[in-house]
């Protein structure tokens, strides 16, 4: 490590001005951002609910319908595969637990715990994304395109934005993981992981709303 590296305060401003509330300023920023994002997802979910049941053609989520497949009007089954998504949901929920364990490792200086559980979190996130990609691919081949009907448009927009938030979260966590592996995440810098973890929990909570609303509710 060069002298400049050693001297320079890398990653984030470690010495932010004193916080009036005692809350870390960067954590406050993440919470603020999360509050704003709640309205973003609320608008997407509301639109999904407003258009629920209003599609003119299938495929539909929970029931059979008429849909266009290979240029022909056909009878199509309900398109959701709940067991797969339920498993992905469980994985995502567990990943929030994993990152808590990783954060504990960061805060206590336990390098193995930090890297192990943070790696598990990233893997869980990647699994969830993989599941979603597989699901989208599967739906597309069963006749549900983005423009096929209102269900397709609202579903893909909502879960697509959620998935892109998961992706950004995975990138962020992976970056922190690399830093941890390179020894640049000592306990006094554990807040850097905590910020990513907060965002990750938010992404998880949004899914906890989306899953029953979209997948379970009929």
């Amino acid at each position: 490590m060069s002298a400049a590296d050693a001297h320079a305060e890398t990653i984030y401003h470690d010495e932010l001005p004193s916080a009036y509330t005692g809350l870390d300023t960067r954590k406050l920023a993440i919470w603020t951002f999360i509050g704003s994002e709640c309205l973003f997802f609320a608008s997407l979910i509301s639109t999904y609910l407003v258009y629920k049941g209003k599609s003119l053609v299938g495929p539909l989520p929970h029931q059979e319908s008429q849909c266009m497949l290979h240029g022909q009007l056909q009878q199509c089954g309900a398109i959701f595969e709940i067991p797969l998504v339920t498993f992905g949901t469980a994985v995502l929920l567990f990943s929030s637990f994993f990152v808590v364990l990783a954060l504990n490792g960061a805060q206590t200086g336990n390098r193995k715990r930090l890297i192990g559980w943070l790696g598990a979190t990233v893997l869980a996130g990647l699994f969830f994304i993989g599941m979603q990609v597989y699901e989208f691919y599967h739906f597309y081949h069963k006749g549900l395109g983005y423009t096929t009907n209102l269900f397709g448009s609202t579903f893909y927009t909502l879960t697509g934005f959620h998935g892109s938030h998961v992706t950004l979260g995975v990138i962020w966590l992976a970056t922190v993981l690399v830093l941890a592996i390179r020894g640049k995440l000592p306990p006094r810098k554990a807040v850097n992981l905590e910020l990513a973890a907060l965002y990750w929990h938010f992404v998880d909570v949004v899914w906890i709303v989306i899953f029953p609303t979209v997948y379970l509710m009929r």
Binding site: Y12, T32, S36, S153, T154
Partner: protein, 608 residues
């Protein structure tokens, strides 16, 4: 509190002058000046667009402007004035004044602050670039579906509008996070929330509105973009969609947006009136709570923009009542301002003229708003010049007059010299005369049946005389702004002999305790606050004015380094969004690459 925590970093790494220093600045004061200059330019552009329209409407059946150009002008006038005029003019004051008023050295995230500015500039330039292609947005500033669908707006006009607004939304959201956190967490020791200057309070509430309202228009625009670019049917009846969904989403954003426009103005007026009455703001707590209540309730009135869509009597009644309810805290503010000046010793500075003019004009705008709140009555008023009168009274007579007052009030602090008061009075009276001549007749014009957004009108409906008066008034109003520019220029020329002390007005708040203009680090030592109107208390304790603060070396005070990564990241954001209207995935990915590259380098930059 000691000056800084690190001894080794110099207070001024990098050049202090020149274009590069401005392009890499992370100093809130410089960013404030950038916002102000850019916003003022766009405001003049929006004004020019208005004068063109007023010329067209000065007589019936004029063919000075083609219908297409007229429609582009009224769309861009509204969009520009709101998103590129009033909002960034407010941002100029958020940037410059909030850290000074709360006793901080800068905002919480200085580079994010710079990022916001650059995104705003790029968004404004992008949107106006559309004129070059004769494809400026032309579906109105609230772009109702399904006129905005690809079918009925096949050109690039609406795409420019959608992408431009998304870019500007990024700027607003980033700034909102920044200022919210700054006000909550960077206040000086002892500055409890209820001791904070009212401008900071109104700004805090405004940031919360921004944070909660902008995501909704982001979603609305995403749906519109999807309809246009990919062929979804979010707003297309052919595919099962409903154009009214757009109206709901837009106005759930749009109504809080108007409070975003006016609350900072409320805050500025609440700063000016006490200082020039030499009395504290009357009813500080009432002013805080009424502001918060207005913001909260502002999310519950949106469908009053939709009274003519036939929502049914129950929805009409509910939104009518919530709209009327919001007039109560607004009235409370007016009365508290009157209570502030009552019994005072009123100094007739230009800033005070504008602040009092605000009160007079905003009352008119508020009253026409109450008239709109009654749905049956609104069924005659909506979409006519009556509503154009209403919103110009609250936006021009309200927001703009307050911003001008703030300009005269804070100019000496920002630039170190005072504006000419005599020319300032001329500016004020020309503005008042021009404003009233332009917008007052619009109440009647609407009531005698002239709809809005019409590029011309026939003779014989009685619209001629009022339109002529309005056109004359608008040119008078334009000349008032020329007087303002002349004032700035003349005062700049005479700046040596117009030098401003730290506290030219006998102010009450912390910004007046440091030199004019402030040094880069604002306060040599971060202040401790024990009262609301802290400076008045200090002066009273001293029995006279405070000694002129000296300029000190600032050695040992640690300020953040300048950086160009915010600008790079801003460019990446803009290019990514442009990919949705031109160039496809390749452009999206290029932009994303620049964005990620910039963001990573930003994140790992030495803090300085």
């Amino acid at each position: 509190m000691t000056a800084g925590t690190l001894d080794h970093a110099p207070a001024h790494p990098g050049p202090a002058t020149g274009i590069w220093s401005w392009m890499t600045t992370v100093d809130h004061k410089r960013i404030g000046v950038l916002y102000g200059a850019t916003a003022f330019f766009f405001f003049m552009l929006g004004g020019f667009e208005a004068l063109l329209m007023r010329w067209q409407l000065g007589a019936p059946e004029r063919s000075f402007l083609s219908p297409e150009l007229y429609n582009q002008l009224f769309t861009m006038h509204g969009t520009t004035m709101i998103f590129l005029g009033v909002m960034p003019l407010s941002a100029m004051f958020f940037n410059y004044m909030i850290p000074l008023q709360i006793g901080a050295r800068d905002v919480a995230f200085p580079r994010l602050n710079a990022f916001s500015y650059w995104v705003f500039l790029l968004g404004g330039l992008f949107m106006n670039f559309s004129f070059v292609l004769n494809a400026a947005p032309n579906a109105g500033w609230f772009g109702y579906a399904n006129l905005t669908s690809k079918q009925f707006s096949p050109g690039l006009n609406v795409d420019f509008w959608v992408i431009g607004l998304q870019i500007l939304g990024v700027a607003s959201l980033a700034a909102a996070v920044n200022f919210f956190v700054t006000i909550i967490n960077l206040r000086a020791q002892g500055m409890r929330l209820m001791r904070m200057p009212m401008f900071c309070w109104m700004s805090l509430i405004t940031q919360m509105l921004l944070l909660l309202a902008f995501p909704v228009i982001t979603v609305a625009l995403v749906f519109l973009m999807a309809d246009r670019a990919f062929g979804t049917s979010f707003y297309s009846p052919g595919g099962g969609g409903d154009p009214i969904l757009w109206q709901h989403l837009f106005w759930i954003f749009g109504h809080p947006e108007v409070y975003i426009l006016i609350l900072p103005a409320f805050g500025i007026v609440s700063e000016i009136l006490p200082v020039f009455s030499r009395k504290p703001l009357f009813g500080y707590a009432a002013m805080v709570f009424s502001g918060a209540f207005i913001a909260f309730l502002g999310f519950g009135v949106w469908s009053h923009h939709m009274f003519s869509t036939g929502m049914g009597p129950i929805a009409d009644s509910v939104f009518s009542l919530t709209t009327m309810l919001i007039a109560v805290p607004t009235g409370v503010k007016i009365f508290n301002w009157l209570g502030t000046v009552w019994g005072g010793s009123i100094r007739s500075t230009t800033a005070m003229h504008f602040a009092l003019g605000f009160v007079a004009m905003f009352v008119i705008g508020g009253l026409s708003g109450v008239m709109h709140s009654s749905p049956p009555a609104d069924l005659q008023q909506t979409d006519t010049y009556f509503v154009v009168a209403h919103f110009h009274y609250v936006l021009f007579g309200g927001a703009i007059l307050a911003l001008l007052g703030g300009a005269y009030y804070w100019f000496p602090k920002m630039f170190g010299y005072l504006l000419d008061e005599r020319i300032g009075k001329w500016h004020f009276w020309l503005t008042m005369l021009g404003m009233n001549l332009t917008f007052f007749p619009m109440h009647f014009l609407g009531l005698v049946g002239m709809p809005r957004r019409v590029y011309t009108y026939p003779a014989g409906l009685g619209f001629e005389a009022m339109n002529l008066v309005q056109t004359l008034g608008s040119f008078l109003l334009g000349s008032a702004f020329l007087v303002f520019i002349a004032n700035i220029w003349k005062s700049w020329r005479e700046r040596e002999r117009r030098k401003a002390p730290a506290d030219p007005w006998d102010g009450a708040t912390l910004e007046w305790s440091i030199p004019s203009p402030p040094q880069e680090f604002n306060f040599p030592e971060l202040p401790t606050v024990e009262h609301r109107d802290e400076l008045w208390h200090r002066k009273r304790a001293l029995g006279g004015p405070l000694p002129e603060p000296a300029r000190v070396s600032g050695a040992g005070i640690h300020m953040p380094n300048p950086s160009y990564w915010p600008l790079v990241t801003a460019l990446g954001a803009m290019v990514t969004l442009i990919g949705f209207m031109a160039g496809g995935v390749a452009v999206n990915l290029t932009g994303a690459a620049i964005l990620f590259f910039g963001a990573f380098r930003w994140a790992f930059e030495p803090a300085g």
